[in-house]
């Protein structure tokens, strides 16, 4: 079924846009973090509509489970941050809005052109989680391994920066 005609899609899309606006406009940073979680959850819903179950699971695990929780921890561990009101816009807000609007219009215009995405019109295989796993372990094994080197480097760097020195 075409995802765009489903009423579920329109509900999810509305939730995504409204919660995203809330993230960048609310005065309390803790509320912003909660709306960010709602927004990311709804994106996972869109992935499910598109039959991309793996992406949906990864979205929930990584963005909701790890990134958003980390943000909430950071807010709670920073003194008084959760109860303070913050200013979300500065004098460049209108310029930024104009730039974003231009970008959205350009992208919408371009995506509406027909025939652009002809490479992706083949149907997804039913077991696309299996296919992704197989590709990661065969064709894309090398980049997959290099990602672990990358994580190691990030880990070492984070410890070197965050540790308190006693001299």
């Amino acid at each position: 079924m075409d995802a765009s005609v489903s009423p579920v899609f329109w509900i999810l899309a509305a939730v995504i846009i409204l919660s995203a606006i809330a993230v960048v406009s609310l005065k309390n940073i803790f509320h912003c973090a909660l709306f960010l979680i709602l927004c990311l959850f709804s994106v996972a819903g869109i992935f499910i509509l598109l039959h991309a179950e793996f992406l949906a699971a990864a979205q929930v695990l990584i963005y909701v489970g790890a990134v958003a929780i980390l943000i909430i921890f950071a807010i709670m561990l920073t003194t008084n941050l959760a109860s303070r009101t913050i200013q979300q816009v500065n004098k460049h807000a209108l310029t930024a809005l104009f730039g974003c609007a231009l970008f959205v219009l350009a992208m919408v215009g371009l995506f509406r052109q027909s025939g652009v995405w002809n490479w992706t019109q083949t149907a997804l295989p039913d077991e696309n989680v299996l296919t992704i796993g197989k590709l990661l372990m065969t064709k894309y094994m090398l980049p997959f391994e290099v990602v672990s080197v990358l994580l190691l480097a990030a880990l070492i760097g984070a410890i070197a920066l965050a540790r308190e020195e006693k001299s």
């Binding site: 350009a106 992208m107 371009l110 995506f111 052109q113 027909s114 025939g115 652009v116 995405w117 002809n118 490479w119 992706t120 299996l130 197989k134 372990m137 065969t138 064709k139 894309y140 094994m141 090398l142 980049p143 290099v146 990602v147 080197v149 990358l150 190691l152 480097a153 990030a154 070492i156 760097g157 984070a158 410890i159 070197a160 920066l161 540790r163 020195e165 001299s167």
Partner: protein
């Protein structure tokens, strides 16, 4: 469900695997000596880089892991540049070990090595996914290195600035890459070229989407290369970071951005550089950016009082000259770009090595502090002058031939194709701004030589940092007088990158 592993040939990957393991050895060594190892850790890291260089020569060309890893003339040439940049950056770090870096020395050098592994992996990738991961592995360790003086406000600011700009540019690049993947249906660069050409036979149908993708790619890579208008981070980050890291950023990181640019834009997207695809032509876009880099970089450099900021603006301008060869997009152009990067390695790393020694001895990075340096430290003053003159492109130094070949390739291309006459303009801008550049480079030489004062500072000649200055000096003079072997090797690069001469 059966698994079919790709043919993997670990032989060609030996240098990368070794350097990765060696980075862990360096960190473990520092830990096992209870962090008292001092300079030994830096010597260990440099030794590892030399061994990696030897392994690189032994490993030779070939493919490993199917299409994921490929060693050709271009990747070997750039890997030598990465290894040289890391070697000279670590070599000029000894002064920091005495005072500024008391903690986590192993991590400091280990992260430089890991970043080098990322660059080497990037240079060998022929595929979007591994290319992107290589680029991330290049930059993430450098965020940490830039902020390594934890008590210094400027250094922490440099680290955070580089992190945010890095994340932003990666996001842009990734968006561009994903559009490209959507358009071509493949992540393999060679296959992409074929697929896009096939689709483009019916150009009207595909619309302007490739253009947006190209703009995002140019912006994302423009941040990495510090090309205007994406260059503002460079002076702040160079000023705040430890000087050897600033040097490594300006040479190693730039070379990595350059090879990534060449791989995506030439290997994958050369079809856009063509009359048929004119709306998506990236040549004019990059040419405008390159002239902005040459003009703004050189003009802004004149006003700088801090030598690290001046070198930052100078490196922005140098990136502009390099991009002339890139947009000329003929065989001479790619060879010239590679040769330019090679000579830039010696001249810029050498200049930063002198700055590092001066900063370690005097604590100052102001140009005015160099007043009368020639009388007390003739070796360093003379070397600095040679490096700056090479950057300015004065014969018979290596930088002159680099500029000459870059300009020659553009003129040749402009003469060969009627619709490429704008390349003449680019060369004109390049020649004109070279004159500006000479002014601020010569200004430092004037400060060091033409004064009656005597500098209160005396720089030590017997130090590892001075050895790096000597290496730079030999490189600039030797490859200025005898560039033939490097040029001969570089001549194989256009073919490796798949440059098709129309």
């Amino acid at each position: 469900m059966e698994f079919q592993l790709p043919d993997f040939d670990l032989r060609v990957m030996m240098p990368e695997i070794f350097l990765f393991l060696w980075a862990l050895v360096v960190i473990t060594f520092d830990l096992s000596t209870k962090r008292r190892s001092g300079a030994a850790v830096a010597y260990l890291a440099m030794f590892g880089l030399v061994i990696t260089g030897i392994l690189l020569a032994v490993a030779g060309t070939g493919a490993g892991f199917g299409a994921m890893f490929f060693n050709d003339a271009a990747s070997i040439f750039f890997k030598v540049i990465f290894l040289g940049a890391a070697f000279m950056a670590i070599g000029s770090s000894f002064g920091l070990l005495r005072q500024k870096i008391q903690h986590h020395r192993g991590e400091f050098f280990g992260l430089i090595l890991l970043s080098t592994v990322g660059m080497m992996f990037l240079a060998s990738s022929n595929e979007l996914l591994s290319l992107y991961i290589g680029l991330e592995l290049t930059t993430i360790p450098l965020f940490v290195c830039a902020a390594f003086f934890k008590d210094n406000r400027l250094s922490v600011e440099a680290g955070i600035k580089y992190l945010i700009i890095g994340a932003f540019s990666s996001a842009l690049l990734l968006y561009g890459l994903s559009l490209l993947y959507g358009l071509s249906g493949t992540t393999d660069l060679l296959q992409m070229r074929i697929n896009i050409a096939t689709t483009h036979l019916n150009f009207r149908e595909i619309g302007m989407l490739p253009m947006i993708s190209v703009i995002m790619l140019v912006a994302g890579l423009g941040f990495k290369l510090a090309l205007p208008p994406f260059h503002q981070w460079a002076p702040d980050v160079y000023e705040g970071s430890p000087t050897p890291i600033a040097a490594f950023l300006s040479v190693g990181s730039k070379a990595a951005g350059l090879i990534a640019f060449a791989k995506i834009m030439i290997n994958g997207l050369q079809v856009f550089y063509d009359q048929v695809m004119a709306p998506s032509d990236w040549g004019i876009l990059v040419a405008v950016i390159a002239s902005a880099a040459m003009i703004w970089g050189n003009v802004a450099a004149i006003r700088q009082a801090n030598i690290k900021r001046m070198l930052a603006y100078s490196s922005i301008a140098q990136a502009g000259y390099i991009m002339i060869g890139m947009v000329a997009l003929n065989e001479l152009g790619m060879a010239a770009v590679s040769f330019y990067m090679f000579t830039y390695l010696f001249a810029n790393m050498g200049a930063f090595a002198v700055v590092a020694i001066f900063e370690d001895t005097t604590g100052s990075t102001q140009i005015s502090s160099y007043n009368g340096l020639a009388k007390t430290s003739p070796f360093h003053a003379a070397s600095m002058s040679v490096f700056l003159l090479s950057l300015a492109g004065i014969p018979p130094l290596a930088g002159f031939f680099a500029k000459y070949y870059v300009f020659a390739s553009a003129i040749k291309m402009a003469g060969a194709a009627d619709d490429k006459s704008w390349l003449y303009w680019l060369v004109g801008v390049g020649l004109l701004t070279s004159v500006f550049a000479l002014y601020y480079y010569a200004n430092i030489i004037k400060t060091m030589y033409f004064t009656t004062d005597e500098s209160p500072y005396r720089l030590s000649v017997a130090s590892p940092g001075s050895a790096m200055v000597l290496i730079g000096l030999i490189g600039v003079l030797l490859f200025g007088l005898y560039p033939t072997p490097i040029l001969e090797f570089a001549a194989g690069i256009p073919e490796a990158l798949g440059v098709v001469v129309p």
